[in-house]
Amino acid sequence: MDDFYREFILDHYKNPHNFGELAGATHQYHDTNPLCGDEITMYLKVGVDDRVDEVRFSGKGCAISQASASILTDEVKGKTLDELKAIDRDHVLENLGITLTPARLKCALLSLKALKGSAWGLHEWPGEEAKTS
């Protein structure tokens, strides 16, 4: 367990990087993990050449979901939207560097889902309303 909740994961959880809302965001995507109530909104400010000038995320949830978002957003600045769309899940899991149980994978990957949604210009998962009604 000491291995699972490594120092750097707890640091990111307690003092998340790029945390908060982003005024003037050009791209914004909100998603939840209904199983546990984790919530993340990803904000991007995209400038010339489709490059990300600024990134922020807001939300609440477990250490894994929040640390994962904090670590991921550290990499986003300066990347193009196409580069964001190409980030794969293994990369996110390598960043965390821990073995996750199936139930916790969703926590770890929520931020990637939110990032990709925003990069694709979505606001929420298509059909989300029908799914939760």
Partner: protein, 419 residues
């Protein structure tokens, strides 16, 4: 009431003997003794239940109600015998009022799709509460939306107890149906179901009680409650998943149209006309989960041999032991009632600075199984102002030492997260 007595580990049960009846409890979890505290989600099974089911498969399995040969007759007798045991267990006036279904959810949906669709229309009122599990909330919400009825949701007070004033006010709207839980799966609160039923019936409503969390943990008597329907799940009371029950008054069931159509539920089928089988089979289309029902019969035997009052007493003792110890931990908040009155062995709590998922994961590494999440209780979680809680829920085989382990694991989690 004082929470701690001089001998705060007194219990009417011989727990070590009970534990020996449950093979799974001696299996390690992550190399540590298993501490199973997720009984509100599902219970473990005693050998008597496992044996009752495997003996069907090993000795005389055959489809029920059909064969004229010995195996089928033996299996049918056990299946119908299980129904009689369940009827006696809840003190049903008639055995034919006990309908086997998959679980409480299916039983509640049966009522919604049959009685509900026939009797609830535009402008009618359905009353339910914020304490409900989604299974006794979403069906009524959807029915109300589909037919243009109003759904009135009774709130709780800050201690997690139902707002009686609001309930009484809701009865003035002359609801057609009142759907209430007997015990909250999220908070452990026992509702005054008998009094609520009397009030609701006086207002002309049909009363549906969700007994999923009460029937396994205390003596529930449908004649005493005087409700119209009671639904519960076998898997939460030592029986297998797939062995649910919905009980209803015969006079009402007789007039209801069937829920599912198919084999076994018919009397006569012609090309242009079908007539229905008698109760309870009218509501049991297709081959029932008869082995699971037989398992439920064995579970009822087991629970009755231990004694429902002793089980309830034991769980109260566990809560009395756990509550002051949890409340004494800095940063721990307990949701719901902080006293022993009107509650069962369900404790929902929060550890400040640690998300319930992380709490549960750290517990898991200590061999402790709890539930973290919204517990199919999103309206309640919204009311409590939290997206999720950590929930420990007890049963007859849990020990005071396991609560010590729970308390120690909270300390471990706090140390790890430095909170």
């Amino acid at each position: 009431m004082a929470l701690t007595a001089a001998r705060d580990t007194a219990t009417p049960l011989d727990v070590e003997r009970i534990r020996a009846d449950f093979p799974i409890l001696s299996r390690p979890a992550h190399g540590k003794p298993l501490v199973y505290l997720d009984n509100a989600a599902t219970s473990q099974k005693p050998r008597a239940v496992i044996d009752a089911m495997s003996s069907v498969y090993l000795e005389h399995n055959a489809n029920i109600h059909r064969g004229v040969y010995e195996f089928s007759e033996r299996t049918t007798a056990l299946f119908e015998g299980a129904r009689a045991k369940v009827a006696k267990f809840i003190n049903a006036p008639q055995t034919r009022e006990v309908i086997f279904c998959r679980n409480a959810t299916e039983g509640l949906n049966l009522i919604m799709h049959t009685w509900g669709r026939e009797h609830i229309g535009a402008g009618d009122v359905i009353v339910t509460t914020v304490l409900e599990h989604h299974s006794n909330f979403v069906p009524w919400q959807q029915l109300a939306q589909q037919v243009g009825a109003a759904l009135v949701v009774v709130d709780i007070d800050d201690d997690g107890r139902l707002r009686r004033d609001q309930f009484t006010a809701a009865m003035a709207k002359r609801p057609k149906l009142v759907a209430i839980t007997h015990t909250s799966n999220g908070l452990g609160t026992i509702t005054p179901a008998k009094e609520l039923t009397a009030e609701a019936r006086a207002a002309g409503a049909l009363v549906v009680i969700d007994g999923a969390q009460s029937v396994p943990h205390a003596k529930v008597d449908v004649r005493d409650l005087d409700c119209d329907f009671l639904a519960f799940s076998g898997h939460k009371m030592l029986a297998p998943p797939g062995s649910g029950v919905v009980w209803g008054r015969a006079a009402i069931l007789e007039k209801m149209r069937p829920f599912l159509y198919g084999g076994d539920m018919i009397s006569r089928v012609a090309v242009d006309l079908t007539t229905w089988n008698e109760l309870p089979w009218k509501f049991e289309a297709g081959t029932s989960a008869y082995v699971d029902a037989i398992g439920l019969g064995a579970a009822v035997d087991y629970l009755e041999a231990v004694g429902m009052e002793s089980i309830h007493e034991h769980e109260r003792a566990l809560v009395a032991y756990a509550l002051p110890r949890l409340l004494a931990i800095p940063g721990v908040t307990v949701f719901g009632p902080k006293t022993l009155e009107d509650r069962v062995g369900v404790i929902s709590f929060d550890v400040s600075g640690i998300h319930p998922h992380d709490v549960a994961q750290i517990f898991d590494s200590e061999g402790i199984c709890v539930r973290a999440g919204h517990h199919c209780n999103q309206p309640l979680m919204n009311r409590l102002g939290t997206p999720a809680t950590t929930r420990a829920s007890f049963y007859l085989y849990n020990t005071f030492a396991e609560i010590d382990a729970l308390v120690a694991a909270i300390d471990t989690a706090k140390r790890l997260f430095k909170v």
